[in-house]
Symmetry: none
Subunit: 300 residues, 5 copies
């Protein structure tokens, strides 16, 4: 699928300006993007840093983001306020507006707000992030929070990146959060509800237990990611690295995603859970893939 | 039943202006209407597009709406913001203000708000849509949302179309969501609570298990739809196509509804879940029915 | 100069939708427009109706607007609320938001607000009108009013037509309100301050007394109107008929304006200050001019 | 005087981020700046374009800003909304929040607000501009407007550039708006009242008639600009080109300003009131000066 | 780990001013701190005063805070309003904004707000305290309260001290509230969510039952507190005394904490649950430890 230029997808001036900066004045400057998320200290706790204790220090990760040529770094409000000033202007900030710990069970998952779109503006961020738990029974609170975020993001010209995560007891009962069924539905939900960019996990068509009948057939991984990109239509798609896994498998997924029409990648633990130079080498391989999928900056 | 002219049903100037545009400057221009809803990607997920993958692309469906001579197209906020500008002025937009996925169970169904009447005004929409889950235990949140929507729609002269859907565990226990009992009650609820237009499913008088005694007798389908139109009184009534079914049965229901005094139809999956030209042929047959039920634009 | 399509001039979805309706679903439906203003009863008093007393009745003028195939009619809030419902949907309404009598002298001219953009939305209007007195010493109040109108119009997707009228003692001392200098400055001011459409009087390059040196040379009428259209850049330009004058001169000015790149005309007294059928014949001649300057509805 | 790094002057994260982008990711990327102001169509009228009619088209000037390697372009809200989307991300926007025509006399000069800091955020601007008429009798309205702008700019992390213009009858009576006395006082006023950047005209120490005694001595031009930079202290200083004048004199003033510690220049008419290639050659000479005054991006 | 100076950790002016006062004009005036919390009457009830009934009188404890050379005293709103005026200016007040009794079980622990940041300003407090129950199922309410407190503290320049307490059924099932796993996660959560100072219990690495695998290895106490300080990064860390325990063990924990990079201690019951002079002697020993870990007031 051909990726659309950012002036073709119904974006206001401010969102265009900030996305243009992310996509054409950072990273490979070719319209693709790779983001470095760094909110796992909240989402999973400091245990995620045990593989590489240096990564516990936000400066280590921010330096990595700059050195590695990332298009943006994702932080929660606390780290953004304490650390971003020193990197302001050197790399775009995506302020993650909600988040939660992984301590209570996920059956009725909800990710409470910690910051506002106005906080993001104040900090000079280039985009905001919101985790939407598609399928959670706590949907009323989740959608109410989201609605305000979406309206504020539109009012202030701030691109909205939705972490579209299938979650909750009903999802667990229908193929789980990584099934093709769940990921496809999550991508479409983000698009229908006005995300500018959507982050999804790579879909697993082989996870078919109790999914809707339409998904219970022999789709290939490539067919699945193709469908997910179509479901997202004009919402740009980022594929998440998730738990650190084998490099070759990760790179293959990244390649398939870009071929399917994704805009880019969002890789955290796969990057900073290894030694510094090894991180950079891995990022270089990811960039090598993105390099092959340039998107023109303007449609005319 | 004779349909009233729009200057006879207590509407303010702005609502009259917008409805006149929908009913007399679009579609057959004879006071009837056929709407194309396209929010199933959220309500049911992308699986609804598997029958005709082209329909996953909003542009395909918007083109169909223009080519088919529909009176309006129904979109959620995300697709409206990303796609409608290209069709603005060519077909009226009905902005659907609330919506939900079908992932969690429906026992306490609630459709959270995603957009405001002011969003609809800003996008140049001709009407707003709201799903009211008549009978749900989550009635407090549902009616609270609805109350605000109704008040805003009145303040801004925006016609309010209510998707009056019987839903929730108590409905399931009393004949189900398509029973004559449930549909009739839903139509009346919308009318009592100030809808300008109400969308209902075609009533099934044969679904009588555990319905109130008054409905537990031998009503015909025609008697049922007559009653539903009377229950709606000055609230214009649209009959929904629902899940794709046999064409002849659908056309017969459409004919009976118009004879009963309905203002029109709202058919989505029955239209775009087939191949393009076949869609247009089916729409042509629906228009052939509407053609026979003109309503004068002015009462004097 | 080539007129731009309405999807090329930086307009939001709602403004595009409403302008598309005015320009392509009314009048000649070719992207040009002719408006019928009817606020002279306030601006000049009933004396304007003495030439044709029938025109004192708003219905007479509204009927004329429909019969004559105008693209819109301009009313103050009082007449809009009392008369527009009967014409709603048949012709676009431009709600004039401010206005004043001509009783006090114009040295410190200010046109106070009488209605809001929200009133226009509520009445189903397609645009709002605001008189900006460019050059008036009362600029602080004028710009403060205008700023709120502009912001509301943007928020609600309502096209903003600015009556850009040079006025005040300083203007009188520098060539007067119809001088090329004054009209050119007024068109630019409207464009710089965010008008979507600007209404100007036809510029008089021969009025050179005390104008800025740059304008004190031998410009032709055609050169003047060309310059004014350029000064307005992406703000669509309407040329006003003003005081009723000789038909051939009026038609020549209309032709020159359209050749220069104007979007259309706004003619009131020249139309309704004559007998009914004569009015329609004159309008027909104006339409004959507009017919020759079609603008494509979409740039792609 | 040594220019301070932007992390040493008491700026919040967002202001640092946006200024870093302006100063180190645009133009010469060395901490100096040259801005292209384009609001003269409002401030003086279209006559400013007569020397080079192409400059009447905002696209011409925006293209020039990109080609010439400016650090930012200054627009009023109307042109920003209609034209900036096409350049978004390619050059920083400074949204000028207030402005006026030059038609009424300047004795009680006041520049009314036309847009808000929130508009600037929404459009993805990098800074806002406000004209403060230092010395005007209309000081109450002026300072009241300014106070709100300053507070909003702080709340939203938006750098505030103050056009510090001595103006009004009292200034005319004491040496005039370009006197060393007036410019020095204006620079200090901006600093005392919280400007992040101040734009001043080059001071004329020889304009001594009726100035305060302290200024009525034989200061050199260099002494004057040195003093003005000191008066501005941590408020970065931009020197304005003003009316187009002889190139060598302009370049000499630019050089003296940078030697004195100015951050950069803001040149409009001197640039675009000449033929295209000649404009670029003149800009190249200005850049040649700025090149010699780099400021490190971080203090540590 | 080297403690950062307060001008290096991303704090606004007001927070810097208040923290400088706490850290360099009170206590040892060397950048370390020891706080005296006195909200146990609410949190545990008067039973905490039975060991030393004199401590039931707030004046007794406030006198002790002054005599002992504490850097601040922590009070709930009621005691602050009734008693602090008499000590105002003699010792900094930390107003604890939320609190609860220990009567209901802690499975869904939530500490409701009793006062606002504005109350703290009004009382001349130097900081506010908030108890965040990390891991509680009542996370939605807890984070919503906290979010408002954080935003208000930022707006008003008030340092925010977070009592980061692991709590709730899920915590009890995974090692308990004092486990290294739980304390480490709590410190990080406070840092990610924008605490300026975080109060934690000393971590117990030997509590390993059902903790995440990463923590289920043989960490020493010193390794644990080192990790917790790193997890808190630029959020200053205070170690809590908790339930009164053996003095030598307490002092050893204090020493290890300071060596690890903590900013100070917060000791209540260990201090005032003994006889007056003995309290002072114990405090003197704590100060003897802090004396060895000075932090420079300015980084340059």
């Amino acid at each position: 699928m051909t990726r659309a230029a950012i002036d073709q997808v119904g974006l206001d001036t401010g969102k265009q300006a900030r996305l243009h900066d992310i996509l054409y004045r950072n990273g490979l400057r070719n319209g693709t993007a790779i983001f470095l998320p760094y909110d796992q200290g909240l989402e999973h706790g400091p245990r995620d840093f045990f593989a590489n204790p240096a990564a516990s220090d936000p400066r280590y990760v921010l330096d990595l983001a700059v050195e590695g040529g990332f298009n943006g770094v994702v932080l929660q409000i606390g780290l953004a306020e304490k650390f971003f000033a020193e990197y302001a202007g050197e790399i775009p900030l995506v302020l993650k507006l909600n988040g939660k710990t992984d301590i209570p069970p996920d059956g009725e998952a909800l990710s409470p707000l910690h910051a506002s779109v106005e906080d993001a503006v104040r900090l000079g961020a280039h985009a905001v992030g919101y985790t939407l738990y598609v399928g959670t029974p706590a949907v009323e609170s989740d959608f109410a929070q989201y609605r305000q975020v979406r309206a504020d993001a539109r009012r202030l010209g701030m691109p909205l990146i939705v972490w579209a995560y299938p979650r909750g007891s009903a999802i667990e009962a229908k193929g789980g959060k990584d099934s093709f069924y769940a990921v496809d539905y999550a991508a479409r939900t983000a698009s229908e509800l006005g995300a500018d960019v959507v982050k999804v996990n790579f879909p697993h068509p082989e996870k078919r237990e109790h999914v809707k009948a339409e998904y219970d057939t022999g789709f290939s991984a490539r067919q699945a990611i193709d469908a997910v990109v179509r479901s997202a239509n004009r919402t740009m798609l980022l594929v998440s690295g998730g738990t650190r896994a084998g490099d070759e498998a990760m790179l293959e997924k990244a390649r398939q995603s870009m071929e399917a029409g994704a805009t880019g990648l969002i890789f955290g633990r796969n990057v900073w859970q290894r030694e510094h130079d090894e991180s950079l080498r891995f990022v270089e391989r990811l960039r090598g893939i993105l390099e092959k999928f340039p998107v023109p900056a303007r449609s005319r």
